[in-house]
């Protein structure tokens, strides 16, 4: 057998999909920071987390990543995309780019992706579940109902999140996310 007929192959990269995920992570990261200042539930979730808490969410093994932490006042803070050199107690990686695409194109909700083992969680699982709850709420604010209903475990009822609160919150969160405060 001529072994040279069967050379080593270095798999390539899915650049366009990675750029899409990076943009989504950037928007969601900044939106979490904004939602923490607008929505009481998100605020409460972050208040309950430990001091110095931060989490990184991204795609294994080469990213992209998004880091969100809790500041001294108990509010969420978007801390960029590079986890190197940062002390991060919770790492949530999606196993591969294709699984991340399923999540970020809302073909699979975060809860379903968790149930299907598409995430690897390194850290406290209770904190990870708090993060999933926050992500669900942020998606409700960011996305129209038709899409958000696919992305979240259960779309909130009127009594839980009134349309006025939702739409006003959406405008404020988008403005804050775009301006970064």
């Amino acid at each position: 057998m001529n072994y040279d007929r069967y050379p080593e192959i270095k798999p390539g990269r899915k650049t366009i999909k990675r750029i899409y995920i990076a943009v989504m992570l950037f928007v969601v990261g900044r939106a979490i920071q904004a939602a923490c200042r607008v929505d009481e539930t998100v605020k409460k979730e972050f208040k309950n987390l430990k001091d110095g808490f931060a989490f990184v969410l991204g795609v294994h093994p080469y990213g992209p990543w998004m880091i969100v932490g809790r500041d001294a006042k108990g509010r969420a803070k978007y801390m960029g995309w590079n986890p190197e050199g940062k002390k991060i107690p919770l790492k949530m990686s999606i196993k591969n780019v294709e699984s991340a695409i399923l999540v970020f194109t809302f073909q699979e909700s975060t809860a379903v992706a968790f149930a299907r083992n598409r995430f690897v969680v390194d850290g406290d699982l209770i904190d990870a579940l708090a993060v999933v709850r926050v992500l669900d709420l942020v998606e409700v604010y960011l996305l129209p109902k038709l899409i958000a209903a696919l992305a979240v475990k259960r779309y909130p009822k009127w009594s839980e999140l009134s349309p006025v609160r939702k739409h006003v919150g959406r405008i404020v969160i988008y403005t804050r996310a775009l301006l970064g405060f």
Partner: protein, 383 residues
Amino acid sequence: MQSPNYYEFLGRPKMISGKRALEQIPLELEGYGAGRPLILLQGGAGSRGQADTITKALYDSSLVIGALYDGAIAGSTSGIASELAGLFRARKCDSIIAIGGGALVDVAKCVNMEVAEKKPALGLAGEGKISRELKPMVLVPVALVSGNEAANRAYIDGLACISHFLSPDVVVIDHRMTSTAETRPTLYSGLTALAHAVEAAISVSANPMIDAYAYASLRLLCEHLPAAVKKPSDKKSSVAVANAAALAAIAFSNAPAGMAHYLAEALADGTGIDPGICMGLLVRALLKTRIVEKKGIREELCLALAGPGMFSAAPASGRAKAALGAIDGTFADLGGMMPGSLREIGVTQQRLNEAVREAVKASPSKLSAKECMAVIGRAWNGK
């Protein structure tokens, strides 16, 4: 369900099935400390597409493909196994990904034996000759025609190697591969799985775990095999049949091979007919014989074959017949693809005696020649 006094069961391999399942391979191999697989796939018309699919599925991972072999593999021989073991070593591979079924998977397992045990695979033929865990192996089924692919056995030069270490570590079922199967391999794969699941469930080793695997396998087959055979490119049914085949193989790994298996192999050896077709006809004849001889069929198996609706509608005394009716119904749904008897596929009456002799000789569990003759005779007549 009777509580067993004692049983053992090994639930291997890990199964990953569904949307984007192929993309999970790098992380699975990473878990075994491997990152440089040798990929084997059957050369031929569809191999270019399969090679592209698997390569793209491994994008954006830390894994490097040591080599991708897509040459033709006609049978599992020591020659091809040694050559591929040489390729494995030359490329410093640390794991194997086998894409396909049948002889290709046998060869992949033999390569694994050679590189892990550092001796020719032929010397490891027999039962329990492998002393250690082999290199991590991932099986990506297209059509599991032999029924051994996801099980604890491999064939080399016609000899069987049996060891729990031969079960693949991970089976990854993805429609991008299963829907490339052709009609006949899909049918053979389904019938082999049906026979293996039924025989495991009626074997002396039957236990609640075997029942669970056999139940899942048989329900999937009864509900999806006809659709998969009519349209092998159908994503849902091709994945269902591949799942059924893998589940049946796990049950089969934990039970001794039965009468239908040995008779089918003996018939196939002499006639060149695919053993899958023979197994399908023989297992139906085996169940019919049990009903005629009033030996009965276990309730758990009746439920698996008939399905909850038909099972609960039938009186307790008629459940075995309902189960048999379900198999007949599935075979009827297969249409012209499924022959009615061994006679129809060219097996001569003279060949039956020889097949029984060979099956009795091959089986370690001392099959009764009289029982074998009754079953094969019924399968030959198709009554």
